[in-house]
Amino acid sequence: MARGPHENPSHLRLVSESAPHDPARDNGPGITPKARDVDWAILMAHAQDGDSDAYLRLLQETTPYLRSLAQRWYHEPQDIEDAVQDIFLTVHAIRHTYDPARPFGPWLVAIASRRLVDRLRHRGRRKAHEAPLTTEHETFIGTGTNLEEEPDRKGLVAAIDRLPPKQRQAISLLKLKEMSLKEAAKVSGMSIVSLKVATHRALKNLRKMLTDGKDT
């Protein structure tokens, strides 16, 4: 993106004799931009009356022109096509606002630059909330890669081993194997209430053991 999205797009002009990508040349050497504008205005007026052929011709003739406009803002061919299609959809939705007594070019360029600026703004806003997914993120999520947790894990396993058998069983079923209370009750043969009590006491004991271990 070479330009900021908030810049005034007033440099977009339909009539630009010296533009490097002047699509007027695509229409043949004899056609001046002014004649082309009149052509397009007539086609649009017919399209407003429901002439499909005129509308098709108009959209096809304006496509390379809109593409060259979009090229000033986007580099990816996919983005350029998206922008051109967005402009066409807007033109289609508000084609009744065109007044055939006025030139067609400024009407089209105003809509085009509006859509292009809006799309850039939207994109900038979205980018502000996004972060690229790097290999670092994958490393943190993968369990095998988190080597630094090993010492903590060893201490925790040792502390759990030191718990009384009932509490150890409750912790292993409910917290390590992540069973529900019902499932754990079935497996262990303990009641739900005693499982809850055992877990509570186990956590309390663990907290004590681990913090004591750190303090000393």
């Binding site: 096509e81 299609q85 967005d86 066409f88 807007t90 939705a93």
Partner: protein
């Protein structure tokens, strides 16, 4: 992802004829006629303020009323013009002089004759009637303008809504000063400036959302 040539041919297929918009000045005139009709109906229903004749002798009152009416009219014209894609944005400056006169006149009046509470105190009945006038004037005008300017949704939604809201606010404030005797400065400030600020702010904040209700439907493509 649809190809551009396919999109073009699908848009052109079975193209229904559309009715062209009338010139913006004509459309603004229609809307202003609706506003005049609403004000006239309110005048019949609620009656003008009892001391209107005396007020009309007061140059400050007449200036303020004329300026607020003019702001409403010019802002409506500007909104209808700017809602079209190929009109210059400089039209937005059209209501500015009238707006400056209206606001400075209100401000000057308030500074020079500050009456914090009227002779009979602030009566809640009058405030309620003021509020009724406010809603009865602004609501239909806002809705009609929103529908009339719906084609501006993909173009300049915010600035068009703000200008339209300014027009509604100015006309509403004119209605209030025509129909209600506002003796306390606070009331004048509230009903003039307050209305204007509230409408313009609401317009600015909710412009896109409001237009989404009435916007011409275009099939959206993924970005």
């Amino acid at each position: 992802m649809i190809k551009t040539s396919d999109l073009v041919s699908s848009l052109a297929r079975d193209l229904p004829p559309v009715r062209r918009l009338r010139p913006p000045l004509v459309r603004a005139g229609c809307w202003l006629m609706l506003a005049a009709a609403i004000l006239a109906l309110l005048a019949v229903a609620q009656g003008l303020r009892p001391d209107l004749a005396r007020c009309l002798d007061d140059p400050a009152f007449v200036t303020g009323l004329a300026a607020s009416l003019l702001t409403g009219i010019l802002a409506a014209v500007a909104a209808f013009l700017v809602s079209l894609p190929d009109r210059s944005r400089l039209w937005l400056l059209l209501p500015l002089p009238a707006l400056v006169i209206w606001l400075s006149n209100t401000g000057y009046q308030c500074l020079s004759q500050w009456v914090s509470v009227g002779p009979d105190g602030i009566s809640s009945g009058e405030a309620a009637r003021c509020f009724a006038t406010l809603v009865l004037t602004s609501l239909p005008l806002s809705l009609v303008m929103l529908v009339m300017l719906r084609h501006a949704a993909p173009l300049r939604p915010r600035i068009v809504t703000v200008t339209g809201s300014l027009s509604v606010a100015a006309l509403t404030a004119s209605a209030l000063s025509l129909f209600h005797a506002l003796d306390a400065t606070m009331m004048i400030l509230m009903w003039n400036l307050g209305t204007a600020i509230i409408f313009v702010a609401l317009g600015g904040v909710f412009s896109r959302r409001m237009f989404r209700w009435v916007a011409p439907r275009a099939p959206t493509i993924s970005q």
